[in-house]
């Protein structure tokens, strides 16, 4: 704790904002639990007991996250050198990678499993700064192995690609 507070810097604001977002999400889910629990139509009597445990846990999570957000904002609780590998913050790369995951899920029904996986792996490997040739080779190899394993070997069903 002693040295951590002084370091401050880049990590404070994103960490505080992220924790604040968690707190807000938990608070909203707790406040609107009447609508989100029970699948109840208006006027139909229902038990309120299923709301109790999620409500309690969300309240604790919201308060805890809020307090942690304040602590993060003040610079406490940042990770020590021992707990995480040495890194250079690259939020852009992280956001791009998360976007790539989302795009992969959306692309699966359009491109099919093999092509969507290949494209996802190729772009992901480019993001971690592999050369295009190596990224293409690895992506093709991994996509082929995954396709053979899941589609051919284990006969996992995937939707037919809409584009082809």
């Amino acid at each position: 704790m002693t040295g951590d507070r002084a370091r401050g810097g880049f990590g404070r604001l994103p960490a505080a904002l992220m924790l604040l977002g968690v707190a807000l999400a938990c608070a909203l889910l707790a406040l609107y639990r009447g609508r989100l629990v029970g699948n109840i139509e208006p006027g139909v009597p229902y038990y309120r007991s299923p709301e109790v445990f999620p409500g309690l846990s969300l309240a604790v999570a919201a308060l805890g996250s809020l307090w942690l957000a304040l602590r993060a904002w003040r610079g406490y609780g940042e990770p020590s050198e021992e707990s995480l590998p040495r890194s250079r913050p690259r939020p852009g790369v992280v956001v791009l990678m998360l976007g790539l995951f989302a795009a992969y899920a959306l692309a699966l029904p359009w491109l099919g499993y093999a092509l969507a996986t290949g494209v996802f792996l190729f772009l992901g490997l480019l993001l971690v700064r592999l050369s295009p040739v190596r990224a293409l080779g690895l992506a093709a190899l991994l996509a082929g192995v995954l396709w053979l394993s899941f589609v051919v070997g284990l006969e996992v069903w995937f939707p037919r690609p809409r584009l082809f």
Binding site: V22, C26, L29, L36, V37, G38, N39, I40, Y46, Y47, S49, P50, E51, F53, P54, S57, L58, V60, A61, G64, S65, W67, L68, R71, G77, E82, L84, P85, R86, S87, R88, P89, R90, V93, V94, M97, L98, L127, V128, R129, L154
Partner: protein
């Protein structure tokens, strides 16, 4: 009992059965190493393979997969801080820092030997005490399960002493995640947002992989390269000289084996509580 035991040993000593055990263990380690697959999925997927085998050979292969899978979960936990199985979460606490200090081989050797000793000890205890343990398991009712759940939650918070608020918040988030789906008593939907896929709740393995695996993958993305130069020391393996190191701590071994066997004999409790309990006890007793 001894006669039956000798008959069992005689049956297992068959070369085909032993070969099936070795092959099963190798496959099990592979399935355990892959986060999200694990021993249960490995057994489910490879069950049809055993239909063509003799019953004992097939069972030996499945047992090999099961036992190998639990050890395999420790490999990514030590090397890249991603638990291969939910029970290997605790392995990341000390295993990954050891790997970062260049002691990956030591951590993996300790993990495999501890798994072996724990497995053998639990089998011996079960052979000797199966009837009373079975009676204990059937006497385990709703109040006892509730207390076991409370114990598990308390242990998670205690495990993160010094970051207790963060642990309590994480536990609360976990409890909320576990409440998604159908309420078992009233069958009311909780936070399913109309998605039928969520009626059965959030499955444990994808949640564990998402929380631990994706977080670590994103942390690795922020390093200069996927495998940083200092990480080369992290390359794993098993070293004979480290295998015997676990025997320097006989009390820890005995206590962990007893905790694992005792909790494992109770239906529906799971391995995660046992690993947390054993880890905390070992840490408490550590000088």
């Amino acid at each position: 009992m001894l006669e039956n035991l000798l008959l069992g040993v005689d049956a297992v000593a068959d070369s085909a059965v032993l070969a099936a055990l070795v092959v099963g263990a190798a496959i099990g380690i592979l399935t355990g190493v892959l986060p999200g697959i694990g021993p249960a999925v490995g057994i489910s997927v490879l069950l049809p393979v055993t239909y063509s085998l003799e019953p004992l050979t097939g069972m030996a292969m499945l047992l090999g997969i099961y036992c190998g899978g639990w050890f395999g979960g420790a490999v990514p936990a030590v090397l890249i801080n991603i638990p291969g199985t939910p029970a290997a979460v605790v392995t990341t606490f000390d295993g990954y820092p050891m790997a970062r200090r260049g002691e990956a081989e030591r951590a993996l050797s300790l993990a495999i030997m501890a798994s072996l000793v724990g497995g053998v000890a639990s089998v011996v205890v079960l052979i000797l005490a199966a009837p009373p343990l079975a009676r204990l398991a059937t006497a385990f009712g709703a109040p006892e399960y509730a207390m076991a759940a409370l114990l598990a939650l308390a242990l998670v918070v205690v495990a993160f002493r010094g970051r207790m608020l963060a642990a309590i918040t994480a536990v609360a988030l976990g409890l909320f995640a576990s409440s998604v789906g159908l309420d078992p008593n009233t069958l009311g939907q909780r936070y399913t947002f109309g998605f039928t896929d969520l009626l059965a709740g959030l499955p444990l393995v994808p949640v564990v992989i998402g929380v631990f695996g994706v977080a670590q993958a994103l942390a690795l993305l922020e390093t200069d390269t996927v495998v940083a130069p200092e990480d080369r020391a992290r390359r794993g393996g098993i070293r004979w000289r480290y295998l015997g190191e676990v025997f320097r701590y006989p009390a820890t071994l005995a206590k962990s084996a007893l905790i694992g066997t005792g909790i494992g004999a109770l239906p529906g409790i799971g391995t995660v509580l046992a690993t947390f309990f054993a880890y905390l006890e070992a840490r408490r007793a550590s000088p």
